[in-house]
């Protein structure tokens, strides 16, 4: 009897241990042709109206005016989780911004010298962010701030920066509510999850798909994006034949059985690379030929290697980002990527190009405001941005007080795997209006 009780207790412990296991990871990378799969329009290049290179902006001036005497110092703040568990999403942006200011100082055509102040809000906590914001506010040389990187910490510091009149532009905080509070000092330069979800549904439709399976990994990101795509898919007239949330595992046999039975012509996996590659591999190995689309979390440099080169060929990704590392990168994006690699000996990862764009706005703001730059002048410069060409997108802000300073062009791009490398197919607008 004692033995049976021991078993029962062990079983209960094991069941509890099993309920609640999750995992994650995130990354980016690189040239073009056919989308493998069952949807009617299998050549993504035919769907795209044309294949443009990356956005190009005006070449920087070459005239290098040597500074006469000492110039005043202008500090630009940066807040984000630089050393914690989310640092892989923050450090690339920090590095890109730092590089931008170093280049501006070296060129010397600005009337000021830039100082970059990075503050580490470890684990992106809301509770610790306000103190860091206050340090920047108290420093009278700080004229503008990049970030914070995440939504929670951003929401915590918005009122402080608003009171101090310091402009801050986030490169990666995507929570919808951030732009609904009416803070005139806050700007978001990146599209949110809802924008990607809508783009994904439109893309599936544009590829001629009719029956979609939407699978997510049960993570807050994956599940949130999956739910949005599910809603948006119905709006564009797709039939969702399978909608599931499955925690990360190795054995996707039962999911593949469902796909074999329900015969979707497109599978969207909303999660991260390690799971997406397993699902795709196991699908293909059991003869499921549906088009495979992943979100930004699935777009990782190792995708083709992990899923198997033959399986990965023709996979498509949606991403509200501009990846300067793709093999067909052109113009300033290519220049940025090579400068970044030269400086840091690593590729500019996620949100690097987004942070670079913000840094360039501040550099131009300081040039326009002159040596006597003020916080008010900087805020005014950013607020008046309209149709400014950047690496990642063309910047203009919404002016509706209910959705204030949201970037108008969400910059959702479509990528895919071609000859084992990640390539840019173009913005979503090329595929669907």
């Amino acid at each position: 009897m004692a033995r049976r009780k021991l078993f029962a207790a062990l079983a209960a412990v094991m069941a509890l241990a099993l309920i609640g296991s999750a995992c994650s990871k995130k990354t980016e990378t690189t040239t073009p042709k056919a989308v493998k799969g069952a949807c009617t329009k299998t050549n993504i290049l035919h769907v795209a109206a044309g294949l443009p290179g990356a956005p190009v902006h005006a070449a920087a001036a070459f005239s290098s005016l040597r500074a006469q005497g000492s110039k005043p110092t202008v500090s630009i703040g940066f807040i984000g989780d630089i050393s914690g568990s989310n640092s892989s999403l923050v450090v690339p942006g920090r590095d890109a911004a730092k590089l931008a200011f170093e280049q501006a100082n070296a060129k010397g055509d600005a009337p000021v010298t830039f100082k970059f102040i990075e503050l580490d809000n470890k684990e992106a906590k809301e509770t610790t962010a306000p103190a860091l914001a206050q340090r920047l506010i108290n420093d009278k040389t700080v004229m503008a701030v990049i970030g914070p990187a995440f939504s929670g910490e951003t929401e915590a510091v918005q009122p402080l920066f608003a009171k101090a009149g310091i402009v801050h532009v986030t490169q990666s905080a995507t929570r919808v509510s951030l732009t609904t509070h009416g803070f005139k000092t806050f700007f978001r330069s990146v599209g949110g999850d809802s924008d990607q979800g809508a783009a994904a549904a439109k893309l599936m439709k544009a590829l001629g798909c009719t029956k979609a399976a939407i699978i997510d990994d049960k993570s807050p990101y994956g599940n949130g994006l999956g739910a949005i795509i599910n809603t948006e898919a119905a709006k564009v007239g797709l039939t969702v034949v399978d909608r599931e949330s499955i925690a990360p595992t190795v054995d996707y046999t039962s999911l593949v059985d469902t796909l074999v039975t329900k015969k979707p012509d497109v599978v969207f996996y909303s999660g991260y690379v390690p799971q997406a590659t397993k699902v795709l591999k196991q699908m293909r190995e059991r003869g499921v030929t549906a088009t495979f689309i992943g979100g930004d979390g699935d777009k990782g440099a190792n995708f083709a290697k992990d899923a198997g080169a033959a399986n990965a060929e023709g996979v498509v990704f949606t991403c509200p980002c501009l990846d300067p590392n793709v093999a067909n990168a052109a113009g300033d994006a290519k220049q940025f990527a090579s400068d970044f690699v030269a400086k840091y000996n690593k590729k500019p990862d996620i949100y690097a190009a987004e942070a670079w764009d913000i840094a360039q706005m501040y550099i131009d703001g300081a040039k326009q405001c002159g040596a006597g730059v003020t916080r008010a002048c900087m805020l005014d410069f950013i607020t008046k941005i309209d149709g400014r060409k950047g690496l990642t997108k063309t910047f203009s802000w919404t002016t509706d007080p209910k959705v204030l300073h949201e970037v108008v062009d969400k910059g959702v791009n479509i990528y895919g795997i071609k000859n084992g490398e990640i390539v840019l197919f173009g913005p979503i607008q090329k595929f669907a209006s």
Binding site: A11, P274, E285, R286
Partner: protein, 308 residues
Amino acid sequence: MPDCLTTQLPLRLVGGLTSGSIYALIALGYTLVYGVLQLINFAHSEVFMGGSLAGLLALEALTHHGAQTNAIFLFVALIPGMLAGGVVAIALERFAYRPLRRRGAARLSYLISAIGASLLLSNIVLLWRGRNFENFPATVAPVPILTLGNVQIYNRQIIIVVAMLIMTAGLDIFVRTSRAGKGIRAVAQDPETAGMMGVDINRVITVTFLLGGLLAGAAGVLYGMFFGVTRFDVGFIPGIKAFTAAVLGGIGNIRGALVGGLTLGVVENVGAGCCGNQWKDVIAFLVLVGVLMFRPTGLFGEGVGAKA
């Protein structure tokens, strides 16, 4: 009737039998050790992981100079995989359990020692190989070789099921007919009397762990062949599923482990079809709870000595 029990059923059965065969191979290790020592070897999932890692390293070594992999490599990789499983299992017995046995420790001490050994082994592999999944070089290319109605059965699935059947049959024959097998049964029935009759108990226990380790090592390599990956924690889920399978079939009973593994694989895969794939693991553990409540001795009853 839901379609998971009608049109989908053949498909779900095939998938379930494949996963179930892996569970059965691992479950045999739990059941053998339990039969002899009345001890659940909770570090057994690490034996499985050790086998899959050794299989991976062997395949990487074989393909190191750019050699094209083929199906033969799988059988070559099974050897180091099984050996590694055996070595890890014997090491566990020698260092985690035997010192406790000598001191006549309480049953709870074995459990704690098992969990400690399991964490230690998986963390050693974590430090050594990192936390990313490692890809198994492809050995057997998936080819559908049988079509039954609307179900395609793949060569890999057949390899797994057949390998499991051969190994289980071999084990069964070994335990029933060989001298060492008789020793295992004798110790399982009554260790004290067996000892007095001149059976070397320590040797019997070592052989028992070795047998369980060989089978779990083979399961690790087959799992790697089928799913294509391994890493430090790859044994966790298959390990507890196999434990469930062993209890389901009647722990300590070799044929019980076989039937328990296959039953669990089928039930969870069919259940996943009916209730949604996210419920797959929940279904497996509901089975465990159900068995413990209504038939704690499992489908076939306990005891290597009596039934094997």
